[in-house]
């Protein structure tokens, strides 16, 4: 594999040029971005990766002149977009060149009709009404929302809202489209829907794309060039292949490479090299097939790569774990759902329909399914915020219809999606004490619980801080601590990883795992199938308010066709295992990178023995 730098980019005139750009937000001491030098050609598809708070959004807003023209602050250097210096023209003028789509769909849809949403931009630009209508028609067609003209944006699904936001940007006929984590709230199918639209714009209309994201699988699939930002600096750039191979760099920047790349790195660390460094499932499939087929030669060439006994032992371990996991069902049940139907009034939307299941004490259950499948409704029914329209919900034997939310909160805690709606107090200590005080516990007991929760989540530094002013990851931890201080036995988490980066994901899942090991029952709703595969013992798959599957992760992810019906795909590593030809004899229901890596090694070891 070659390391020819930048040679693969599309060639052409410099189209976007950043010359030694540094920027500070008004009142900030530190630079949000520092010393940025970059040249991009027209029609490139550029992905921007980096941790939370590392300058991705700042970068995006530099491109359309919102920084510095609207945000203020102090900017050095210059940004030239399509021949225009962003500091010399107004944001409105640049808006015709650069469209931007933000993460939060609600914040960027401000009209009451789809058609007026899309027309909003061109109307501001004083374009003739006929021309606008033509553009609206085109933009809605590109994002496949034709026929939705008269609908209210609030009535659309998450994926549709994001596509509408893209259409609204497209109607300005931009030459550059900037997506600032525009797919982060979408289910996998919603994400690929949006990205296929973006790719079409890129290929058919030569629109230059900038995409800030955490989804490296998609980056690998679509991007020409990847920029890696770390602490306000551009620390690396290259093709996805070049970047995802640089494991040390990625670790420093807090970026997770695609699972198939992780596999290649795992094997490389054990001196097993794939002929081509894979970033897509297809490349990995080819590479592994080749590796296993070329086995005898390779064995002669390379040195001893793994102690055979140990290797087969660990792969055995993994298998054993998988078979013993799903047994909790026959224990005492913590949550018992009986023919639960929930209907939202006044429009009569059926969110859950005749759902029945039980969760045993000490289980770790994940709930997955498309946007709007009923995950949040289910969790809110468990804690009693919503009461069943029909059927029954029993929590530790208590019927939620006859028990108050406050009473249930001693037994079951729910961490909701958005931390900002769950923090009300002036200091972190007060925040955590809020629940126990409401339970009228004696002071020493309140103090004990606060101290325990602070210690458990490592919040010692923040005791006296204002919770809402903390960084997103810390805010989520304060919310979790506040719920833990209620000392509920059952803990529910609703998309707790939303809006967070790779490190944030694992931090939260690590906490969930620890709580589980301490005996808590955990139920978590999420779109992150890789986390589900790694942490959960049982997966409940919802589709349009009904249970589609309810089984172990291995069993659930072995049915990709069924999952697709609710817009979910198995983790990439599982997809790879399923794509590998059967004659190789590798397990198909693999859940983690390590599992497949060990299986491959085990295979090699075995055949070495036989030879």
């Amino acid at each position: 594999m070659g390391h020819v730098r930048f040679a693969q980019y599309r060639t052409g005139e410099p189209y976007i040029v950043m010359d030694d750009v540094s920027y500070r937000y008004p009142g900030a001491k530190c630079y949000a971005l520092e010393g940025l030098n970059l040249t991009i050609s027209k029609g490139e598809f550029v992905a921007i990766l980096g941790e939370h708070g590392t300058g991705k959004s700042t970068f995006c807003q530099l491109l359309n002149g919102v920084i510095p023209n609207f945000q203020g602050g102090q900017m050095e250097g210059s940004v030239i977009v399509a021949g225009l210096n962003t500091q010399e023209v107004s944001v409105a003028e640049l808006a015709q060149k650069v469209g931007i789509v933000l993460q939060d769909p609600e914040a960027q849809l401000f009209t009451t009709k789809v058609i007026s949403e899309v027309a909003f931009g061109p109307e501001n630009l004083c374009i003739e009404a006929d021309e606008i209508l033509e553009r609206v028609r085109w933009a809605l067609q590109v994002v496949r929302l034709t026929g939705f003209e008269e609908r209210s944006p609030t009535s659309l699904s998450g994926g549709q809202k994001q596509r509408l936001a893209i259409a609204a940007a497209l109607a300005m006929r931009p030459e550059v489209l900037v997506l600032d984590e525009a797919t982060s709230q979408l289910d996998p199918v919603g994400t690929s829907e949006v990205l296929s639209v973006v790719r079409k714009l890129n290929q058919e209309y030569d629109v230059t794309i900038f995409m800030a994201t955490h989804k490296s699988e998609e980056v690998a699939q679509f991007a020409d060039r990847v920029l890696i930002l770390h602490q306000g600096r551009l620390i690396a750039q290259g093709t996805p292949q070049e970047v995802f191979e640089r494991e040390g760099l990625l670790r420093r920047a807090g970026i997770r490479p695609p699972q198939v790349s992780q596999l290649a790195i795992y094997l490389k660390e054990r001196s097993l090299h794939l002929s081509e460094f894979p970033i897509t499932t297809e490349q990995a499939r080819r590479g592994i097939e080749q590796l296993l087929n070329s086995l005898p030669d390779m064995w002669r060439e390379t040195r001893f790569f793994c102690r055979p006994n140990q290797a087969s032992d660990c792969s055995l371990d993994v298998l054993e774990c998988q078979t013993t996991l799903y047994q909790a069902k026959n224990l005492v049940s913590d949550i018992k759902v009986e023919n639960l139907t929930y209907i939202y009034q006044p429009y009569g939307v059926v969110a859950l329909e005749d759902v029945s299941f039980e969760v045993g004490k000490g289980e770790f259950v994940a709930i997955i399914g498309q946007n709007g499948a009923g995950k949040t409704t289910l969790l809110k029914n468990i804690v009693g915020l919503l009461k069943p329209t029909r059927g029954r919900m029993l929590v530790e034997g208590f019927d939620t219809r006859q028990t108050t939310v406050a009473e249930l909160s001693r037994r079951v805690g729910l961490i909701l999606q958005n931390p900002d709606q769950q923090l009300f107090s002036q200091t972190v200590e007060e925040e955590i004490a809020f629940g126990p005080r409401n339970l009228n516990l004696p002071d020493p007991e309140v103090v004990r619980r606060v101290e325990e929760a602070i210690a458990m989540l490592g919040l010692e530094r923040f005791r006296q801080e204002f919770p809402l002013a903390l960084a997103i990851g810390d805010r989520v931890r304060v919310v979790i601590a506040s719920v833990l201080a209620m000392e509920p036995h059952i803990i529910l988490l609703d998309e707790p990883t939303m809006g967070q980066d790779y490190r944030g994901h694992h931090q939260i899942m690590g906490i969930a795992k620890r709580l589980h090991q301490e005996g808590h029952t955990i139920v978590i709703a999420t779109h992150h199938v890789d986390l589900v595969a790694e942490y959960a013992q049982r997966v409940i798959v919802l589709r349009k308010g009904k249970i589609l599957l309810d089984d172990t992760p291995a069993a659930v992810f072995s049915q990709p066709e069924v999952l697709l019906r609710t817009h979910v795909a198995p983790p990439q590593i599982t997809q790879l295992a399923q794509a590998l030809p059967a004659y190789l004899g590798l397990p198909r229901n693999v859940l983690t990178v390590v599992e497949l890596g060990e299986a491959v090694i085990g295979k090699l070891v075995n055949s070495v023995h036989h030879n």
């Binding site: 807003q61 359309n64 919102v66 609207f70 107004s90 944001v91 409105a92 003028e93 808006a95 015709q96 469209g99 931007i100 933000l102 939060d104 609600e106 914040a107 960027q108 401000f110 009209t111 009451t112 009709k113 007026s116 027309a119 909003f120 931009g121 061109p122 109307e123 501001n124 630009l125 004083c126 003739e128 009404a129 606008i132 209508l133 209210s152 609204a168 940007a169 300005m172 809110k380 804690v383 915020l385 406050a406 909160s409 001693r410 805690g413 909701l416 900002d420 709606q421 769950q422 923090l423 009300f424 107090s425 809020f434 629940g435 409401n438 339970l439 809402l468 506040s482 719920v483 209620m486």
Partner: protein, 267 residues
């Protein structure tokens, strides 16, 4: 969720009126209510607004929830007026004997007080549904356009209508916050006394305001990115045109208000 000000789609006559006609109706009726000292006028306006509400086929439940929301304030004002208005005493305050210093002998119920209290209540009841009557029957972008065509600058018109739009957003947000509070066994907003509730409001307002500011900043960026505030004469894909029925409606409203004011000043 049913929001008390958000657009409620419909094809009623009132829905189809030109936004300008409805804005003029809103202004004139509001003026009448503010000016009138006459209980008959206030009651007549109240009945007219209710009639229009029915003509527009808006859900009565929404009107009910409005009144419920303001019910506490209305009751409070009623009591204050009844006991504080000087005049001919019709009922001596039975709670405080006259011998008590300072407040003794105060708080007697007067005939004027009762009448005036009813007037206040009728005025409040009439004024509360006027704004929702207009905002629920007019899509927000047309309402903006109505203000623009009446001569307001676009930015100002947009700000007014967006403020209206903010109410349902904040309501939804407030609901999520109180849900999170219930999950931590907080029950004051459900069953606490009025003073406890008042004390608890910072717990709701803090996250609400900070959340609104965070989202507002994003919205501002999104709007700016879509050319909001660009120079030149803004275009509109949907135009509005005054029809004879709109002129007739305005004439009717104007006559009605004139009559109401005359009655007020003459009597």
């Amino acid at each position: 969720m049913d929001s008390p000000v958000e657009y409620y789609p419909g094809r009623s006559l009132f829905h189809r009126l030109d936004p300008r006609a409805k804005i003029i109706f809103l202004l004139l009726f509001t003026i009448v209510i503010f000016v009138t000292q006459h209980i008959h006028v206030a009651v007549a306006v109240l009945l007219t607004v209710i009639a229009l509400w029915c003509i527009a086929r808006l859900p009565l439940r929404t009107m009910g929830s409005h009144l419920k929301m303001w019910g506490g304030l209305i009751a409070f004002l009623f009591v204050v007026q009844v006991v504080l208005r000087p005049g001919e005493v019709i009922l001596i305050n039975p709670l405080i004997p006259p011998s008590v210093p300072l407040i003794g002998g105060k708080g007697n119920i007067t005939g004027e007080g009762v009448l005036f209290a009813f007037l206040i209540v009728a005025r409040l009841l009439a004024i509360i549904p006027i704004l929702p009557l207009v905002s629920m029957t007019t899509p927000i972008h047309l309402l903006t356009l109505g203000f623009v065509r009446l001569g307001l600058p676009y930015q100002l018109a947009y700000t007014i209508t967006t403020a209206l739009n903010l109410i349902p957003t904040l309501q939804a947000e407030a609901r999520l916050i109180t849900d999170a509070q219930k999950l931590r066994a907080f029950r004051t907003f459900e069953k606490g006394g009025p003073i406890a509730k008042l004390k608890a409001y910072p717990l709701l307002v803090t996250p609400l305001v900070i959340g609104a500011m965070r989202r507002g900043q994003l919205t501002a960026v999104a709007m700016e990115s879509r050319g909001f505030g660009a120079k030149g004469k803004r275009t509109y894909i949907e135009d509005i045109a005054m029809k004879p029925r709109d002129w007739a409606f305005i004439a009717l409203v104007a006559l009605y208000c004139l009559a109401a004011l005359l009655m007020n000043f003459l009597s």
